[in-house]
Symmetry: C2
DNA sequence: CGGCGCAAAATGGTATACCACGGGCGGCAG
DNA sequence: CTGCCGCCCGTGGTATACCATTTTGCGCCG
């Protein structure tokens, strides 16, 4: 055994490919092909696919090739609403549960963002941005919440990235993040919720807009992707 | 193939066994044994175990037998908080999104509960209760939300059942459910959230209490279960 | 010339065989 | 007698072979 959990390594790799766009939505993930491509057997590949399916990145059809998820606009907007709700709860709970170290970590991420907002490539910067939100979820010290939050962040990765690239307003983002941190430091749940709302409130609309822009017609059925 | 997705059937069965308590927390789920018990091979059994693991019903340890999840009190309380948040969001969204048919369905469940509260056995009644909440989540017409909500309801099944059995106050439950329905009918998001809060607000504490009562010491290690 | 049907290939679902790690137990040495 | 070392067995991880279904294309019949 290499390091145990081959399936998870595969899942990680596939996830990356999907999120980065290497595997376009609609692309079929055939167990056999992908397995032999990676030089592994179907069993772990199969398991990896199931993992991604649970995460919503892959669509499982009965007795048919799984395909890369092709979320429609509504689904994305729906997921965004849930994400926001989770993040509000995170912030609220973090006001009580967060330790000093938690807050420091969050502040550190904020500082990192401020420092090299311009010089870092958007993709990496975006990952830092996500880690900010993840850190808040973790500061709630509520495992279930943090995990669920992470799952939604994952599922929305691509859409959020597009939305963020659209209006890449350095100052606004930093300021909003700062407000969130302030609220957490003040241990003020209401303010924290509001700060989150201010930061993410329009996310659903943004995603709706950018995805609508990206997709030519009104449905994504047109996307006939082929990965190989 | 019988009806496709053997793994799912197994998962359903195992889930039932776990939720009903046939498989006590801490009981090992050995791939080989359970597979041969059910007359299937390890592959679907393995997949079923992974499904349940993702649902939080089974604990996966590296290179060791998976065991039935043994959630501690804090985890349950944490999950409850998330569940409540999700349900509030459901109710809020349902105020806008629910159709007349949705409301009728919810009302129907409420009526069913009222009719045969006493005559039905607690387990079935509890499932009806759960379906009430599930119906609200579905009335939000937000797939991601409904699914996540269902997942948490699932994970909390056992604890909620214990808590519900504890204070089995027919009138109070019906009244609170009625208030929720009223708020939905009035399309009043704020009232809906409040009604949910009133209904579930003390759930975390209840669960904490009943679980603390159930577990003698501070750990459940004493439970040495055997399924067969 | 087109529609229906059958057959073969493709593909996911399932079963089984093999491998590597880990813990328990017994033997050997100090 | 005790402690350490090594072997064996139990268990999960992986690979592969087999089976059922679905799809698709070709040929036959209308």
């Amino acid at each position: 055994m290499t390091e145990t959990v081959l399936a998870e390594q595969i899942a990680t790799r596939l996830r990356r490919d999907i999120l980065r766009g290497t595997l376009p939505p609609g692309a079929p993930i055939k167990e056999r092909d992908n397995a032999s491509d990676l030089g592994v057997s179907r069993t772990p590949m199969r398991e990896a696919i199931r993992i991604l399916a649970k995460e919503g990145l892959v669509e499982l059809r009965p007795s048919r090739s799984p395909i890369v998820a092709r979320p429609n606009v509504k689904d994305l907007a729906d997921q965004t609403l849930v994400l926001i709700a989770l993040e509000k709860l995170s912030a609220e709970l973090a006001c009580t549960a967060a330790t000093g170290a938690d807050l420091d970590r969050i502040a550190g991420i904020l500082a990192t963002m401020a420092d090299r907002f311009a010089e870092t490539d958007p993709l990496d910067m975006f990952e830092i941005d996500m880690s900010f939100h993840t850190a808040i979820a973790e500061a709630s010290h509520n495992r279930a919440l943090a995990e669920t939050h992470r799952a939604f962040l994952q599922r929305l990765w691509h859409a959020r990235f597009l939305a963020a690239r659209q209006k890449r307003a350095r100052d606004r983002v930093l300021q909003e993040h700062g407000r969130i941190l302030d609220a957490l430091r003040a241990r003020d749940p209401v303010a924290a919720r509001m700060a989150i709302e201010r930061h993410l409130g329009h996310l659903a609309d943004d995603i709706r807009r950018v995805v609508a822009t990206e997709t030519p017609g009104k449905d994504t059925t047109t996307n006939k992707g082929d990965a190989t």
